[in-house]
């Protein structure tokens, strides 16, 4: 397919990338391209300048900060998450969920940074990173800032990354004995989610986020409160999920009505919390 003509630059450093993004109107970063190239084909997006991040090897690293945070560069692919020993020892749920995104070819190119910056409401990683209480490091012409997951996802295709800025890293706290879970209903085995839920249970406290029910992931705060101090028996978790559906205003589409999504939200949240609670370490 013939794309609209587009200017292209391949910066060698993050500073060059930020300078290009800041000085050219209509410039967009190109990460793995597994969403952007496709929407450009459909002409649903028509950036004037593509700033290819492919050469920025510093964004492809996975490591730990001095205080034990798992630091994942924005250009780390799903395949890299699946094969990372750092992810495996620290937050294996990231590898588990990355392994269910699309297919092998997409997992070889698609990146964590692209997944979260697209902020598609049906993406896997936004609700997961909200449940894991991740933070996001954004660099711009005036330096670096770090925002929480709750502040990062602002809406459909909209994040805290502003014009002339670049997401450089996603930082995930060490599990410290917490268990993590992810559940939902997909169209086909590894297809688009109709509803998904992510949970992290630490001791007797849970953090829960629901995807595909709003413009950005929705924290299930009432359910979290109801679970504080819980024994996490199936009965208790089911009870805590009651009312979650009616607190949401999900869209209706070809894959399910809003009411069906309300129901799925309670079922998915229950399953994610049960899985997370079962994986806790004492």
């Amino acid at each position: 397919m013939l794309l609209r003509e587009v200017e292209y630059a391949r910066p060698a450093t993050v500073e060059e990338a930020i300078s290009l993004l800041g000085t050219h109107d209509g410039a967009r970063p190109l990460a793995g391209g597994q969403t952007l190239v496709n929407v450009m084909k459909a002409r649903a997006a028509a950036p004037d300048v593509l700033v290819d991040l492919g050469e920025l090897t510093e964004l492809r690293e996975i490591g730990f900060s001095s205080d034990g945070m798992l630091e994942i560069g924005a250009m780390v692919t799903y395949a890299q998450l699946m094969g990372s020993s750092e992810v495996e020892v620290s937050r294996p749920i990231l590898a588990e969920v990355a392994g269910t995104i699309a297919d092998v070819q997409v997992r070889n190119r698609g990146t964590i940074g692209g997944n979260v910056c697209v902020s598609d409401p049906t993406n896997h990683l936004p609700p997961l990173l909200v449940a894991l209480d991740a933070t996001f490091t954004i660099r711009g012409g005036n330096g670096e800032r770090t925002v929480s997951a709750d502040e990062f996802f602002l809406g459909v295709y909209l994040t805290a990354v502003g014009e002339g800025e670049l997401l450089t890293k996603v930082n995930v706290p060490p599990s410290s004995g917490a268990g993590d879970g992810f559940a939902g209903l997909t169209v086909g085995r590894h297809g688009t989610y109709v509803v998904n839920a992510a949970a992290s249970v630490s001791g007797d406290a849970a953090r829960i986020a629901i995807g595909c029910v709003g413009a950005s992931p929705v924290r299930a705060e009432a359910m979290e409160e109801a679970l504080a101090g819980s024994d996490f028996s199936e009965e208790a978790v089911r009870k805590a999920a009651e009312g979650l559906g009616s607190s949401l205003d999900p869209p209706s589409d070809v894959h399910g009505s809003g009411d069906f999504r309300r129901h799925l939200a309670e079922v998915s949240a229950t399953r994610a919390v049960m899985q997370a609670a079962g994986r806790r370490k004492a």
Binding site: M1, A27, D103, V104, N108
Partner: protein, 159 residues
């Protein structure tokens, strides 16, 4: 730092041969392979990134060449279906496709072969389940999956 351009020289290795060509930056890798290099074994099925008929190996990993600009492959090593075996030869996998009647119309076959070859390189004797997961990104509209999976499992067993 070079500024943004709309045309750029791409230098890469394809099926063991070094090529360098000036291309418009908007050109997709699949069109570079098919139209600029004349390697028409790589197919365009859906053009939306779903079907996998355009799968090639980029530095040894299967990727969909319709979801990549040609300029993004600068410096890469690419293998297409033409690069799997010499003229008149078949790899064990291609032989197994023949023996198991793993194609009807053949349109998806180049992509199937590239995905399955990558699987067999990392996992020489895959189970049926592993084959099915590895081929999730490749769609066959003749619905011939059973024979395709049989062929890949059989190719693994002959190694």
């Amino acid at each position: 730092m070079p500024g943004p351009v709309t045309s750029m020289a791409v230098s890469l290795e394809i099926n063991g041969e070094q090529v360098e060509l000036e291309v418009p930056t908007r050109r997709l890798l699949v069109h570079f392979i098919r139209d600029d290099l004349g390697l028409t074994g790589t197919h365009v099925g859906c053009d939306t990134g779903n079907c996998g008929a355009c799968t090639v190996h980029l530095d040894g990993e299967p990727v969909k060449s319709c979801m990549l600009l040609a300029v993004q492959a600068e410096g890469a090593k690419i293998t297409t279906v033409e690069g799997l075996a010499g003229d008149g030869d078949l790899t064990a996998l291609q032989q197994a496709f023949n023996e198991h009647h793993a194609l009807q119309c053949g349109y998806c076959t180049p992509g199937m072969l590239m995905s399955a070859t990558a699987l067999l390189e990392s996992n020489p004797s895959p189970t049926e389940e592993e084959v099915r997961v590895a081929l999730q990104g490749n769609i066959c509209r003749c619905t011939g999956y059973v024979n395709i999976v049989d062929a890949v499992v059989a190719a693994g067993n002959t190694r």
